[in-house]
Amino acid sequence: MLRPYLAIIKDSFRAAIANRLLIVLLLIITVFLLALAPLNFQESIESGILFRPGARTGNQVPRPDALVTYLIENQDKPDVAKFASYLDKSDLDRIKKDLEAGKDNIHEQIERGETVIGALESAIEDENLYDPKIWDLNKSINQELVDFHSRGIEKLSSGEKKRLNRLLVSNTFPGLVLPPSQSLVKIRYLYKKITESHSGMELYRSQVTIYLPYLMDKFVLSIGLLIAVLVTAPLMPTMFDPGSLSLLLSKPISRWGLYLSKFIGGCVFVALLAAYLFIGVWFLLGFRLGLWDRSILLSIPIYVIVFAIYFSVSAFVGMYFRNTIIAVIVTALFWAVCFTGGTIFKMFDGVNQKTKIAYVVQANGQVLQLNDIGAPAIWDTEEKQWVNAPVDDIEKQNYMANYTFSFLPFIPQGGLPTTYSGIRPVYCPKYNFVIGGANLMLADPNSFSKPRIFYANLENKAYQPQVLGYLSGSGIEFLVRPDGDLILVTGFGKFQRLAGDPEEFIGQQDAKPADTKTTKTNTDQKKSSRGGPSNMNKATQLVDFKKMFKPAGPDQPTSIASDRMVDLNQATGEIAVYNRKKISIFREGNDGDYLLDRTVDVNVPFDSTMTTWIQYQGNQLYLAFGNGEITVFDGNSLKMQKSYIPEKKSAIKQINASPNGQFLVVNYRNGNTWLLDVKDLDDIRKRNFVGQGNISYASFDKNNKLWIADRTDRLLQYDPETLERGNPEYNPKIIGFRWYYWWIRLVYRVLPKPGEFYKLVTHLSSSTETKKDSNLDLTQMDEPSNPWEPFVSGVIFMCIMLALACFVFHRTDY
């Protein structure tokens, strides 16, 4: 029964062999594999110091100036002195002089660091560095050093001695020179080094496993797909040649069977070539580099499907026009449309994600929203649109950099610092102003982790923020008490109370630079910021924050890792803090300072580093964890009442409790939003909010009304009891960018997505065991976009193309 169709498939191969195509391609692949064959790796003992100033990963000297200072100031210690002896005296004197002169320019810091690290590297090269009088290896906490000692130092090889020296460096400068990786892996072509990995063999393998599908995807989708389409394009036009088609059609076979057989023939042909290529690469990487990566093998069927998607287009065009050149051109155009459509969508989607409402402040009749990167916008009641709030040039550059990152078609592994961080703005009704802070992500060493504080006085009803300066002291959160007082929470767990109207503090800075006299306007702010990164801190400091905020306890602070882990109860004024599996409640003492009132240990099975949110309102305390677990406590007794995991796959984005404590709203990264009413603790569920599944923000206002932002920038009000929509609502028209976005999204959904198949390969090749771990912190992982989605949509597209082709073939008179 299948004989006729198998004959067609067989004929596809005869055609390929007859015109020597198969042989030529096999030869090309063989040459390619032979060219890869000289690749090899060399694993050696790691003894160097990686100094990569400014790099996010791999830098073993995070604070070069601290290393230099430590070396200069601790020469009384024999181990430090030993290393210092490798420093030229002239260099030593120069460094001392520079430090005394206070030369703290970042470039000068790096240069001094490089000098000291050079001396340390010289010491590492010295096989006679180790002195048993200086270092007692038996007492070392480093097991490797102990092992070296037990083996006998004199018996160590030259490489092992250097390794010993390198470990002694980290031993002598703990925290300043981080320990080296286990081994150095060099990737070589014959004997020539191509690249090296300081991460050790295991990490190197895992990195390659992550990157390989990505690289293969790009390689296969560019050259491989093009060759495959070119090679298979003549199959259909040849079959549809009028002279030969009549004979084929006269045979007792169905037309759709004939068409599909020819189609499968082309796919099998490509599958064989792909199998030869990928299995060859798999063997090569396995034998030559020790990488037995199954994602390479998984790629074979997946990329044959990718090819089949494009071949379905090529075959249809070839069948309809009976012309190979038209088939190739149309397929190439189709690929270009898919690729461009996907890229444009990614760009638009990136910007769209960034411009979604992430946070809302309702201040004295004005509504201020911050999008995902912290760019503020104000609601214009007349135009019924959000208008960008005025920001200075530094902020503009900051936002522009963020938007630019979102334009990248491919987000590199590990991601980019694209989300807003800083101190969320709050409205202080007592003095009628909005205050908040944003971290800069531009390369400014001085600003790193220090938020620039924005302040906007709303007396004149206009939102005109000005920069007060950099807030030091690791401030992480502003809280507004029920009485209107503003509390600044620091990462050390200290609370600071606003001492008075901020207007009084502006301009009271003691050592105020001359050019900041008139820095109340944005224009002048811009001028002052041109002084260079290292001077920006001082130049823009308008306010002495030590005077503006006064300590307000507690005596026994508990460090707070994030603004998620602190909340102020609007009913009682108490502050709840979560830290290391412990809830601490602080209440206001008689002197106005906060003091610890009660604590409770939270019994959870996972690590204390799990991302946690705390909300304490009314008589309810809520905890939410990175694994998706939500726990309800009684606010007074701190006894646990209920625990849920509403969504298991998506990470929690934010939680918020109504000021009366009755409701908790939970917003997930996937846009789902759940609501809990404590009147019925069993009743936590996704409610029928407009835009459910696409909600970017959900929070209660002081009147216990629920505000939900969806789409991109629509903000709607709900009564949490009845779920009825309320007024006002902020519902801008869909115009401009978003209008195009919706159309492009529609096109993107329909078309195949050539650039996304590596996700499925990665998904299939990654370990499945870790995915079942219920204690995984989902917030630390990429949001699991369905890796099968591009595959499924591609296969659906292919099936539609094949069905259409069969229908046209069936209906056409030849």
């Binding site: 006729p4 198998l6 004929d11 079959m239 030969s244 009549s246 007792p252 008179d813 030849y814």
Partner: protein, 347 residues
């Protein structure tokens, strides 16, 4: 529909659509009806554009019919069951160039659901039969047009078809190969295979076929035995009196005045003087029957006109074909015209 019929067609119509939004229509078959009994060797004749290939393609299911009915071997035309039992040799066959003769037979045999082993068992005999026994391993791309036709014939016979449909089978063949092809067809016919031949080479049809159908401009002009074609044409040419007209060629010696007394100049066709002699004449006339011929001969002899020669013209397939496909108005004009009859430009 009878199961004894190899082909049975009733009021078959095919209209092609084309142009902007398929607004232009062209009727290729205008309701033709005929049948081919099993065992017949049937020829389908018609000038270019008559609808012959359209008809065959409908039979094979390559194109769809607009209306009417057509069956092959009792199965609807184009059905897979019907195609299983048919061998088909299309017009201007171009086999896939990458195949050699053996591969081609294997492919087309497999497509007819014949196992490769069976194909291998039969292929030598078939190739020998079509004169390609030395060419089994040669790529079809190197074959001449005639060789491709012969290979096409071989593949059509692979599965021992009950009905063989041949579309211009001798097209492109040299005279010797044509004779060989005719011999093959005759042998198949003798073996009881129904042969349906589509050709514009009239002599070939005349030599091979026992039944013919003549298509012109999408209309069926004749369908029946070859030997009845002349009487059909004769009946068709019967004059207003209802009698059959015979075309007779006279060669006479005598004065032209005497001849014209018997044959007025207006009734003479293709008149010429023999060897330039003013008293020797050759011409054709149409006469009602043998009695009329006898009457004219008697009168000529009375006037001392010698009868050098007299011959009654036979109606060949060619002349019948030409008469049938001509437009009736043109035909009547031609018959009334004393100008010489021109032979057909091509067969």
């Amino acid at each position: 529909m009878s199961k004894d019929l190899a082909v049975d067609v009733h009021d078959l119509r095919k209209t092609y659509s084309g142009g902007f939004f398929w607004s232009k229509k062209f009727e290729a078959l205008k309701g033709i009806s005929f049948s081919v009994a099993r065992g017949q060797t049937f020829g389908l004749l018609g000038p270019n554009g008559a609808g012959k290939t359209t008809f065959l393609k409908i039979l094979m299911g390559i194109i769809s019919k607009s209306s009417g009915s057509a069956t092959m071997l009792g199965k609807p035309a184009g059905s897979r069951e019907g195609r299983k039992r048919i061998g088909y040799l299309p017009e201007q066959l171009r086999m896939l160039g990458h195949l050699n003769a053996f591969n081609a037979l294997e492919l087309y045999g497999n497509l007819s659901n014949i196992p490769t082993s069976t194909v291998k068992a039969k292929r030598d005999h078939l190739l020998e039969m079509v004169g390609l026994s030395e060419w089994g391993k040669v790529r079809v791309g190197k074959f001449s047009k005639g060789m491709r036709q012969r290979l096409g014939m071989a593949q059509a016979l692979l599965h021992d078809p009950e009905l063989l449909i041949l579309d211009e089978p001798t097209d492109g063949l040299d005279p010797k190969a044509r004779a060989e092809m005719r011999a093959i067809i005759n042998k198949l016919s003798d073996d009881g295979v129904t042969v349906f031949l589509n050709s514009h080479i009239l002599q070939e049809v005349e030599l091979i076929c026992d039944h013919v159908a003549i298509l012109d401009n999408g209309e069926l002009k004749y369908s029946g035995p070859v030997e009845q074609l002349d009487s059909f044409v004769s009946q068709l040419n019967r004059g207003a009196s209802g009698s059959t007209e015979l075309v007779v060629e006279f060669e006479l010696a005598g004065s032209i005045e005497h001849v014209n007394e018997i044959f007025p100049q207006t009734t003479m066709q293709q008149y010429e003087r023999i060897a330039g002699d003013a008293n020797q004449h050759r011409f054709k006339v149409s006469l009602a029957d043998q009695a009329a011929i006898d009457n004219r001969v008697d009168n000529l002899r009375k006037r001392q006109v010698s009868i050098l020669g007299l011959s009654k013209q036979q109606i060949t397939l060619e002349s019948a074909f030409l008469q049938l496909i001509d437009d009736p108005q043109e035909k009547s004009a031609t018959l009334a015209d004393p100008a010489p009859l021109n032979p057909p430009a091509s067969a």
